[in-house]
């Protein structure tokens, strides 16, 4: 089956929010703080502008609380008396002419009495920079398994390491954009998004409106990667506020500069490892400290931290594990969701550290991993017993075979000993990724989805999950078509509109195919139950038409709710239990060439082997893996967010380099398919997994090629030069 919207996308027919013409629309823009922290003293409107032509919105125009409803509601929709980061929104303007808007924005002077700010998340905050709680800590998370201190004392060796990872920009193809309008008293927003019901909740809260007085509609969305998980709530509120005051539709489109400067990025992180190992390479204690830079507001940092902490100990069995995690405030533009959601940061540290341990013990890094990989019946750091039948050793071995690890090692050794300045080696990373929300998250979401039998004999899928390039639309259709054995063209997918689709949860956390897809399968069952039998194919359609003939004018809606798989229990206080319904497992191998003259790293080959449960669509699944690896290559080697006073200075695509097709060799993708009983057709989550593995595999390869011990990404030539200089 072809991608459902492929032709529309290829021909440019797909209507993104920028393409949707709206009669009488005005343009909106945001006036932002130029300083990282301070008290707003005065706002001056330049005399050169006729302000009567403009609609101006400030915090006093909010009908409800001045809060972006998220985890802690600490972020204002518009700053009132203080700002906490550069680019913080203070005022909104609307005008029919976009150029006049630019001139007007320049004519506004926000005078701020600056206060001491903090930008380095790694140092304890001086007293005059404390802005949250007593210590700027947004969230603490702790995992305790066994007796780490005793095990460290008893261990033959203790290996320590500190690893740092940088921020990353999502670079979705389509910038953020939203239009707001009021229709029949209903405040409506339409635009680019991953989570319509997050926006719905944010609008209800800050606009003080009832459920049916706000409406959220998704327009075609050109990529998200988490960047359209939390931030669109802010943008939707801005568009809605302007529309309410202007009494007409108002559209806000960020250009690339504004989008990169003002919206969220991946959390920078520092992870410390202290690992006790026996002389034979058995890991007996893991003592891990995870620190995230949260930026100026809480946003999603607590849950990013949570996922990071749970993934920090890697796919290994160890009886004694302690992970202490903190996310702290800095006066940086808030960090937010990004593919992997904390796991890439901690997995980078864990997998680099595994190679360092192997080095210290004089062991082969493959042997060390084989010895410690979780086996069925053993448990993760949270005590979740893994019993999924996946052959994790075989996944590792397959990657080793496909990457010709041993043959290449010999060939590279010969090459490296003769070549004057090029050095080659293969690195690997073994990892896992929990699919779906963490802990009790899925239960808390209480997702609902509908499968509707239409009077035409067709079936309609109603969920709040969005197509954003990943292929959700096609996958959903495929799941229902195969379940009911009907042709895909007999299946419609309802527009994602909160007036028409139930809340099936956000399009995040690698949950869409696995969890919502499973809801759709159950919805098909429920629909058939109403039709009085386990119908499929033509028989199903006949029964559906018969039902409508017997119930003229009625709708046949089968709605199902999420039910946690049996045995999934989570203690959020003690961080114990089943952190995820299931994990996807993988080993990636990178073959690199390092140029000792330029310290540039070239990727020669990449092998990605994973078990993601049943593969629902080979092309889309391989696309997810290849895309995730490329995003990981960028994060590992070139994507460097350069911060000045907590704001990204290189906020455009000439100065923030992402990989081009020439920078990445063909990514060789291999799937193992051990079905997961509670995912659609046996599928597990796939979207985020590939983001986790590229960086550690590549940096491990660089370490093996050079003999240096790089512990930082992005590992730009400048950073590698410094590392090698001190080696």
């Amino acid at each position: 089956m072809k991608r459902r919207e492929a032709i529309d996308k290829l021909t440019g027919r797909e209507a993104y929010i920028d393409d949707i013409a709206i009669a009488g629309v005005w343009w909106g823009c945001t006036v932002r703080s130029a300083v990282p922290r301070g008290r707003i003293r005065d706002i001056r409107f330049g005399a050169e502008i006729d302000w009567s032509e403009f609609v101006v919105v400030d915090h006093r125009d909010l009908p409800g609380p001045n809060q972006v409803a998220m985890i802690e509601n600490d972020q204002p929709v518009l700053a009132s008396d203080r700002v906490r980061h550069i680019h913080e929104a203070v005022l909104l303007l609307a005008h029919p002419d976009r150029d006049r808007l630019r001139e007007a924005r320049r004519a506004i002077h926000i005078e701020i009495d600056e206060e001491p700010a903090i930008f380095d998340y790694r140092v304890p905050p001086p007293a005059d920079t404390v802005q949250h709680g007593g210590d700027n800590v947004f969230k603490r998370v702790r995992i305790d398994k066994g007796d780490v201190d005793a095990a460290l004392v008893a261990a033959d060796h203790v290996v320590e390491g500190v690893y740092e990872t940088g921020a990353q920009e999502h670079v979705y193809l389509e910038n953020q954009g939203m239009v707001g309008y009021v229709e029949d008293g209903v405040v409506t927003v339409k635009g680019s998004m991953q989570c319509p019901y997050y926006i719905h909740a944010a609008l209800r809260h800050a606009l003080a409106r009832a459920d049916n007085e706000v409406r959220v509609i998704q327009a075609a969305t050109g990529g998200g990667f988490g960047g359209k998980e939390d931030y669109p709530s802010v943008l939707a509120l801005h568009a809605a506020l302007l529309a309410l005051k202007a009494e007409r539709p108002v559209k806000i489109l960020y250009d690339r500069d504004e989008d990169m400067a003002a919206t969220t990025k991946r959390h920078p992180a520092r992870v410390r490892h202290r690992t006790g190992v026996t002389s034979q390479g058995r890991i007996v204690a893991q003592d891990i400290e995870v620190l995230l830079d949260g930026g100026a507001y809480v946003t999603l940092s607590p849950v990013v931290l949570s996922r990071g902490v749970i993934h920090a100990s890697g796919p290994y069995h160890c009886d004694n594990v302690r992970v202490e995690g903190r996310a702290v405030l800095t006066n940086a533009v808030p960090f937010g969701a990004f593919r992997g959601f904390g796991a890439p940061q901690t997995i980078f540290a864990c997998e680099r550290h595994m190679d360092v341990i192997a080095d210290e013990l004089g062991m082969c890094p493959l042997g060390l991993r084989r010895k410690n990989l979780i086996q069925d019946g053993q448990s993760t750091s949270t005590g979740q017993v893994i019993r999924d039948g996946t052959d994790r050793i075989e996944i590792l071995d397959r990657a080793v075979r496909d990457a010709e690890f041993h043959q290449r090692e010999a060939a590279d050794r010969a090459f490296n000993s003769t070549h004057p300045y090029l050095r080659r080696a293969t690195g690997i990373a073994t990892f896992y990724h929990g699919a779906g929300f963490t802990g009790a998250g899925e239960t808390y979401l209480d997702s609902r989805a509908q499968v509707v039998g239409l009077a035409t004999g067709e079936v309609e899928i109603r969920t709040a999950n969005v197509e954003m390039g990943q292929g959700a639309l096609t996958t959903f259709v495929k799941i229902v078509a195969e379940k009911l054995a009907v042709e895909p063209d007999r299946i419609r997918v309802a527009e994602v509109d909160t007036f028409h689709v139930p809340n099936s949860g956000p399009t995040v956390a690698s949950r869409t195919s696995m969890i919502v897809g499973r809801l759709l399968e159950r919805g098909c069952d429920a629909l058939c139950a109403t039709l009085g039998g386990d119908w499929t194919g033509d028989k199903f359609e006949r029964e559906l038409l018969r039902w409508h003939a017997e119930h003229p004018g009625q709708e046949l809606i089968a709605e199902v709710r999420y039910e946690p798989p049996p045995g999934v229990e989570w203690d959020d206080e003690r961080y114990e239990g089943s952190a995820y319904g299931t994990f996807a497992w993988a080993t990636y191998a990178a073959h690199v060439e390092v140029d000792l003259r330029t310290f540039g790293v070239r990727l020669l080959d990449f092998v990605a082997v994973q078990d993601v449960g049943t593969v629902l669509d080979e092309v889309l699944a391989a696309g997810q893996v290849q895309g995730g690896v490329v995003q990981g290559v960028g994060w590992a080697l070139m994507e460097e967010c350069q911060f000045v006073d907590g704001a990204m200075a290189n906020h455009n695509l000439t100065n923030y380099s992402i990989p081009s097709s020439d920078d990445v060799p063909p990514v060789r993708v291999v799937f193992y398919e051990t079905p997961y009983a509670h995912g659609a057709q046996g599928a597990k989550g796939i979207g985020e997994l590939p983001m986790d593995g590229a960086a550690p595999a590549i940096v491990n390869a660089v370490a093996r090629a050079t003999g240096a011990r790089p512990a930082v990404v992005p590992l730009t030539p400048e950073v590698l030069m410094r590392v090698m200089g001190s080696a």
Binding site: R98, D99, R102, D257, M638, A649, N652, T654, N655, S657, P659, S660, S661, D662, D663
Partner: protein
């Protein structure tokens, strides 16, 4: 993006007639890959775009015994895939292969490539009223200048990004320019001018003049010609430093040489001093070292771009060795 009008002249004199007295008023539009981006970035605000694509005859490549005439509107892709160009001017094909991305080369024209504006994030950002935009200072001098010029950078440090211009200069190309007084032809080498001449423009064109043709003479080409450049990323990236070498060889000796450096100064830079060494001393390793050393004489690296001096030497040596090999 500010609104503008588009004029669709049917002839070159018509285009000249449609053009205004200054650059804020009218701009000539060819492929638009640079100009439209500038308009979208709010760094150019022309009232009228004079669209050259409506003029017939500017897209032809005419091959003759003496050389080739390239219409200014020939796209970079068309030029690089032309059989005769591939055969006789190989370094030009090499240089085009490095320019931007295939999508941009399919639209961008050779005339536009010569007339494109500089690479400089201050120039390209509307919040920085730099010298080029009529302002008072060059922000790069004390600012983020990693990618800027290391030669001729005292007034404006923005490097000229064209990778075809240095090669065309090395091949002795001439450009035909049309203006109110009719047509004239000049050496491409004399087409560019430095910030000292006029910091707001990179070439001698007035707002009423347009490039219509580029001419290459067979007498000036050689199989011993090569272009090398360094970039941060393998594709779709700017040149950090380019070196073009065009040698007329007789056995091991160099009879005539042209050497042009690019992306390291506000214009492509022909280096007659290096050409002289090549002719006098040849291409042995001693000569190469001498040339490399000489190549960075007079350079004035800024705080963050001293590395470009290393690149100048390396690219130059690579280009010479490649050219000698033929």
């Amino acid at each position: 993006m500010r609104r503008f009008q588009v004029a669709m002249p049917k002839s070159v004199p018509g285009a000249v007639a449609a053009s205004g007295d200054d650059f804020d008023e009218t701009k000539f539009l060819a492929g638009g890959t640079d100009l439209l981006a500038e308009i979208k970035d709010h760094t150019q605000f022309p009232d009228v775009l004079v669209n050259l694509k409506s003029i017939p005859g500017l897209k032809e490549i005419k091959v003759s015994d003496s050389g080739v005439e390239i219409g200014a509107l020939v796209t970079l892709s068309e030029l690089a895939s032309h059989k005769e160009i591939k055969r006789s001017w190989p370094a030009l094909v090499e240089a085009i292969g490095h320019a931007a991305s295939p999508q941009i080369r399919n639209v961008g024209t050779v005339g536009g490539n010569l007339c494109q504006r500089v690479r400089c994030w201050y120039y390209r950002h509307d919040e920085y009223p730099c010298l080029k935009k009529g302002g008072q200072i060059c922000y790069a001098q004390q600012g983020e200048n990693e990618y800027h010029s290391v030669f001729g950078n005292r007034i404006c440090a923005a490097p000229h990004p064209s990778s075809t211009a240095p090669v065309l200069i090395a091949y002795g190309a001439q450009v035909e320019i049309h203006g109110p007084e009719g047509a004239r032809t000049i050496d491409l080498e004399d087409f560019f001018h430095s910030p000292e001449d006029d910091v707001t423009q990179e070439n001698i064109l007035t707002s009423k003049e347009v490039v219509t043709k580029i001419t290459l003479d067979r007498a000036n080409t050689s199989k011993h010609s090569a272009y090398c450049e360094a970039r941060e990323r393998d594709a779709f990236d700017w040149s950090l430093c380019g070196a073009t070498v065009n040698l007329q060889m007789d056995g091991d000796s160099v009879k005539r040489a042209r050497v042009v450096l690019s992306a390291i100064a506000p214009t492509p830079v022909r280096r007659k001093d290096l050409e002289k060494v090549l002719v006098e001393s040849g291409v042995g390793s001693g000569a190469l070292e001498k040339i490399a050393k000489l190549s960075i004489r007079g350079a004035r690296p800024l705080e963050q771009n001293e590395y470009k001096l290393t690149l100048v030497k390396a690219m130059l040596k690579r280009a010479i060795l490649k050219a000698v090999k033929g």
